[in-house]
Amino acid sequence: MSETNKAKLTGKATVREIFETATEFEKVAHRFYTELIPNVSKDIRWLVEELAEEELEHVELFTNLSKNPEVDAIMAAEIARPVADGKFSDCVHTPDLGPNPDDQAVLQYALMRESAAMDQYTELAQSTPAGPLKDAFVFLANEETKHKAELEKIYYETVHSGGV
Amino acid sequence: MRDIHALLKQRHRLGPLEPRKGGLAFVTVPRENLRGLLLELRDTHGFTHLVLLTAVDWMEDGLFQLTYMLNNRGRDLTLGIRVMIDREEAQGDTIHDMWPTAATYQRELKEMFGIDFPGSPRLDEEFILEGWTDLPPYRRDFDSLAYSQQTYAERPGRVTHDPREYMKSKLYPDGV
C-alpha cells in the first residue's frame, strides 16, 4: 500500500500532498503523451498531440502556482481528501497501452483520465480555502469537464462511425 | 343512336359511331355526303336543332375538322358530325339554306380560321375582328403569345428564379 493510499484512509490530506499528486498527475500525463507521439501511426498522431498539448498547459499552471507565496502559505493546511482521489492517484502511474495503441485505446485511456481529473478537481474546488489555489482548481475542474465532453464527441465520431 | 347509325351508315358512308355518355355520339362523314346526311337527319330523324358549327385545327395532319352538332330534342340525342377538309385549300359547303343561323357560324369560321363557305351570306363582312391583317387567329400557327409580346409592353422590373437553379447557384455553384 502506497503512502497516498494509506493517507486516503484518514480522510484528510494536507494541501501539499494534494498539490504534489496533482502536479505529478499532469506531469506524468504530459510525459506519457509526448513519448507516445512517435509510437503511434501518423493517422492518429493528431489526437495524441492534442492531448499532450493540453496537459502541458496544466503542468505550467502548477509550476506557476508553486511559486506563489499565497499558495505556499497554506501548504500545511489540511483539507478533506476527495472521494475520487483513489482513481485519480492511480492515474499518476504511466499506463501500458502496448507498443502501438490505436485511436480507440488512446481515447479510452484519455477519457478515463479526464473523468478522474474532473471528479477530483471538482471536489477540490469546493474544499480548498479561497485563494489562488481554489481558483486554480475551479479552473481545472471546468477545463477537465470540457475536455471530457470534447473527447467523448471525438470518441463517438471516431468509433461509432461509418455505420450506414 | 345505334339504330340511326346502322340505317345511315351505308348510304352516307359514315365512319364508326363513337358514343359518349348520355345521348352524345360522334361520327365522321366524307364532305360529299355531309349535305345529304344533314338533310336526312333533320327531315327524317328529328335532328332539327343545329347546336353549333365549329372547326378544329389539326395542323400536323394538314386538316381542319368541321364539327356540326345536331340535336334531336324528343329523343335527347346529340350527334357530332365531323367533316375533315384540307387545311391548305380550306373550304366547306354552306348550310345556311337549311339553318339560316349557320351563316353566322360560317362567317366566324371564315374570319377566325380562314375557311371558305362559298355562297354563304355576308361571309366576308367583318364579324368579331376589325381591321385584322394577320393570320386568321384561331389557326394553330397563329401564336397569340408572340402577338401579345409584339403588341403590348411588359411592365418593367419583373424577375423570377427557378428554385432548383437558384439553390444550385447558392449551395453548389460548381455543380458538386
Binding site: 480507440q104 | 419583373r158 427557378d162 458538386v176
Partner: protein
C-alpha cells in the same frame, strides 16, 4: 286597358319612406370570411417550391429572394411576389401550395397612387398579414396526390427464411401514378449528394420514356440498380410533398426506370467512350466511389484499372448490404455497364500484398484511393475479447462469400445503425433456416426516435422478429466459468448527448439488464484499414483527424494520389458516387494540365 292597370303601379309608392339599401361607406365593408382578397404567406412555413408560380395562369407570381431567408435543405428560400395587376384572385396558388403557407386575407380594398405598390411579397409587412379571416383551402391539398403509391413487399413470414429480395418494384401503372404526384419543384436536387436530375427522370416515368430516363440517371449516377434499392434517399426528406402527405418515392421510381431498361439497351443508350487518351489511372477499391470514378475516367477515354482485394467488385454494396436488400445480380448489372466502358477490375488483388503502392504510382498517371471502411469497431467493454463476440462487417462479408458463419440460437446485437439492422436480419434468416426460429436481441445507445438506421429497417427488423432494446449502454459481455458468452449487461441511457448536442452518455446504473445470448455481435462503427499505404507513405501524407487529408477537390497532399469515398468522407453509397464523380473530374483536370507527377 283598364283603370286598374293604370293605377296598380302607383302602389309601389309605399317604398318612398323605406331606408336606403345602399351602403354609406362601401370602402371598409368587411368581406365574407372566405373571401379571396390579398394574399397572406407564412414565410417561415413557405419552402419556396414555386408551385404557386407554376400554376398561375396569369403569370402574376415571381419567386424572389427575401432578406433573412436563405436556401437550405428542402427550402429554396425564395418567396412568391405577386403582381396584382395580373392576379385574378382564383386562389389556385393557395390550393396547390405544398405547405399550406399561402392563404388569402379577406381584404380587398386598398387605394394607392403608386402602381408598383401593388406588386409585393405577401407576408412581409401588409397590415392584413396576420388576419384570421380570408380564403383557405378546405381540407387537404387536392390538386396533387397526397398518398404514396403502395410498394408491394414480401410478407415477413415469406421473407424471413431466405435472402430473396423483399421489395417488388413498381409496375408501370403504379410508377406513373407515383410519378404523377411530383410537382417538379426541384428542391430535392440540392439535397442529393450527386445532384441527380430527379424531377426530370420522374417526368420521364410519367412520359413512359425510359430511354430518356436511363440517360438522365447515367448523367449523374452509374449505380441506379443499387441506389434504386438501398439509397439513403435524403432527397425524399426534402421533398415538398412531405409537408402535407407522403414524399414522392424517388428511390423506387429510380429503380423502376432501371428495371424497365434491359442491360444491353443501357450500354447502347450510354454510347461508346471517347477515343483512348493513352493515360492510365489506378483505382484502389471497387466500391461505389472507385467504380464511379472509373466509369467517368473510362468514358473520357482514359485507361482505368481498379484493384480490389476481395473476390468480387462492389465493396460494401456487395459485402455490407445483404442480398435481400440488394441482390447480387442487380449490383452485377451496374458493374457490368462500368466494365463495358473498358474499365478493368482486378479482383483478389490486395494492394500492399499483391502489388505495392510504389508500383501503382510508377505505372499510372494517377492513383485514386477509395478503400472504404471495412474494419469493424468494438466497444471494448470487458468480455469482448475472445470467442463468441463478432464484428458485424466481418460476418456480413463472410455471409456474402458463402462461408459458414458462427451462429447461436440467441444472439445479441449492439448498434442502432443500418449495419446493425443488416446483421440482425441476416442472422435472423440464418437462425430461421438452422433452428426454425429467430432469436435476436438488438441493443442500441440511441433511443428509438434517434436511431441512425432508416425507419423502414427498424420496422422490417421488428416484423422479422428482432427484439429491439433502445437506449441501452453496453457494460460487459457476460461469460460463464468456461468463458462462454452468456449475455450482454447494459445500463439504461438517460441521455446520450449533452445540451450542446455532444456525445456524453449518462447512464442510469440502477436500470441494469442482462440480455441473454450465447453470441454478441458488435455493429457500432467501422474504420478504414490504411495499412496498405505502408509506413513511409503514411508518414509522408498529411492527415486530418484520423483520415487522409484531402482538399475540396479530393487531392491528397501527394500530387499523384487522390482519395474519395467513405474512407475520407462518407457516409453512404450516393455520397460515394458523388465523390467518385468529383475525384474523377479532379484527376481529369490534372491529366489535362499534365501536372501529374510520375
Amino acid at each position: 286597358m283598364g283603370l286598374r292597370e293604370v293605377l296598380t303601379p302607383f302602389t309601389v309608392w309605399k317604398h318612398v319612406f323605406d331606408d336606403p339599401v345602399t351602403i354609406k361607406q362601401p370602402i371598409g365593408r368587411p368581406a365574407a370570411e372566405r373571401y379571396r382578397g390579398f394574399h397572406q404567406n407564412d414565410l417561415d412555413t413557405c419552402i419556396g417550391c414555386g408551385t404557386c408560380e407554376a400554376i398561375c395562369q396569369n403569370g402574376a407570381i415571381d419567386m424572389v429572394a427575401v432578406a433573412g431567408y436563405d436556401p437550405e435543405k428542402g427550402n429554396s428560400g425564395l418567396k412568391p411576389q405577386i403582381d396584382y395587376g395580373r392576379c385574378c384572385w382564383c386562389a389556385l396558388c393557395v390550393d396547390v401550395c405544398m405547405t399550406g403557407s399561402l392563404t388569402m386575407s379577406n381584404e380587398y380594398t386598398w387605394v394607392d397612387t403608386d402602381p408598383d405598390a401593388f406588386r409585393f411579397v405577401p407576408g412581409l409587412e401588409e397590415p392584413w398579414k396576420d388576419d384570421e379571416e380570408g380564403y383557405e383551402r378546405e381540407g387537404k391539398r387536392v390538386l396533387s396526390g397526397i398518398e404514396r403509391i403502395h410498394m408491394e413487399e414480401m410478407e415477413p413470414e415469406a421473407r424471413i427464411g431466405n435472402f430473396d429480395e423483399i421489395v417488388a418494384g413498381y409496375s408501370r401503372a403504379e410508377a406513373i401514378l407515383e410519378a404523377d404526384r411530383c410537382v417538379e419543384c426541384g428542391l430535392c436536387v440540392a439535397t442529393c449528394p450527386a445532384h441527380m436530375s430527379i424531377p426530370d427522370y420522374i417526368a420521364a416515368v410519367r412520359d413512359q420514356d425510359y430511354d430518356r430516363g436511363l440517360q438522365l440517371l447515367y448523367e449523374t449516377n452509374p449505380f441506379s440498380e443499387v441506389c434504386g434499392r438501398v439509397c439513403t434517399h435524403k432527397c425524399e426528406g426534402s421533398c415538398a410533398a412531405l409537408h402535407e402527405g407522403d414524399p414522392i418515392a424517388i428511390r423506387w421510381l429510380k429503380r423502376h426506370i432501371i428495371d424497365e431498361v434491359p442491360f444491353d439497351r443501357r450500354i447502347e443508350l450510354i454510347g461508346q467512350p471517347a477515343e483512348p487518351t493513352g493515360r492510365k489511372v489506378a483505382i484502389i477499391g471497387a466500391g461505389p466511389a472507385g467504380l464511379t470514378a472509373a466509369f467517368d475516367l473510362a468514358r473520357a477515354g482514359h485507361g482505368v484499372v481498379v484493384y480490389e482485394a476481395l473476390a468480387h467488385a462492389g465493396g460494401m454494396m456487395r459485402y455490407g448490404i445483404p442480398e435481400y436488400r440488394l441482390p447480387y445480380d442487380a449490383l452485377d448489372r451496374d458493374i457490368g455497364v462500368i466494365e463495358a466502358m473498358g474499365v478493368e477490375i482486378r479482383t483478389n488483388c490486395r494492394v500492399g500484398r499483391d502489388v505495392t503502392m510504389d508500383e501503382l504510382r510508377r505505372d499510372h498517371d494517377a492513383v485514386v484511393l477509395t478503400i472504404g471502411l471495412h474494419m469493424g469497431r468494438s466497444t471494448r467493454v470487458p468480455g469482448t475479447e475472445g470467442a463468441g463476440v463478432e464484428k458485424a462487417v466481418d460476418l456480413l462479408r463472410r455471409i456474402t462469400d458463402g462461408e459458414k458463419v458462427p451462429l447461436a440460437e440467441q444472439i445479441v446485437v449492439i448498434g442502432g445503425g443500418n449495419v446493425a439492422m443488416d446483421i440482425a436480419r441476416s442472422m435472423a434468416r440464418l437462425q430461421k433456416a438452422e433452428f426454425g426460429k429467430v432469436g435476436i436481441t438488438l441493443t442500441a445507445l440511441e433511443d428509438i426516435d434517434h436511431f441512425l438506421a432508416d425507419p423502414e429497417e427498424v420496422v422490417e427488423s421488428r416484423e422479422e422478429g428482432v427484439k429491439i432494446f433502445d437506449a441501452r449502454g453496453p457494460q460487459e459481455v457476460m461469460r460463464d466459468a468456461e468463458g462462454k458468452v452468456t449475455g450482454l449487461r447494459t445500463w439504461r441511457v438517460k441521455s446520450i448527448f449533452d445540451a450542446e448536442g455532444r456525445f456524453a452518455p449518462a447512464y442510469d446504473q440502477s436500470d441494469e439488464r442482462v440480455h441473454a445470448g450465447s453470441m454478441v455481435i458488435e455493429a457500432i462503427g467501422q474504420a478504414a484499414d490504411t495499412s496498405l499505404l505502408g509506413a513511409a507513405l503514411t508518414e509522408a501524407l498529411e492527415w486530418n483527424r484520423g483520415r487522409i487529408k484531402i482538399d475540396t477537390a479530393f487531392r491528397t497532399s501527394e500530387p499523384w494520389l487522390f482519395a474519395a469515398g467513405d474512407a475520407v468522407k462518407g457516409p453512404d453509397v450516393i455520397s460515394a458516387v458523388a465523390d467518385g464523380h468529383r475525384v474523377a473530374r479532379t484527376v481529369m483536370e490534372k491529366l489535362a494540365a499534365r501536372e501529374v507527377a510520375q
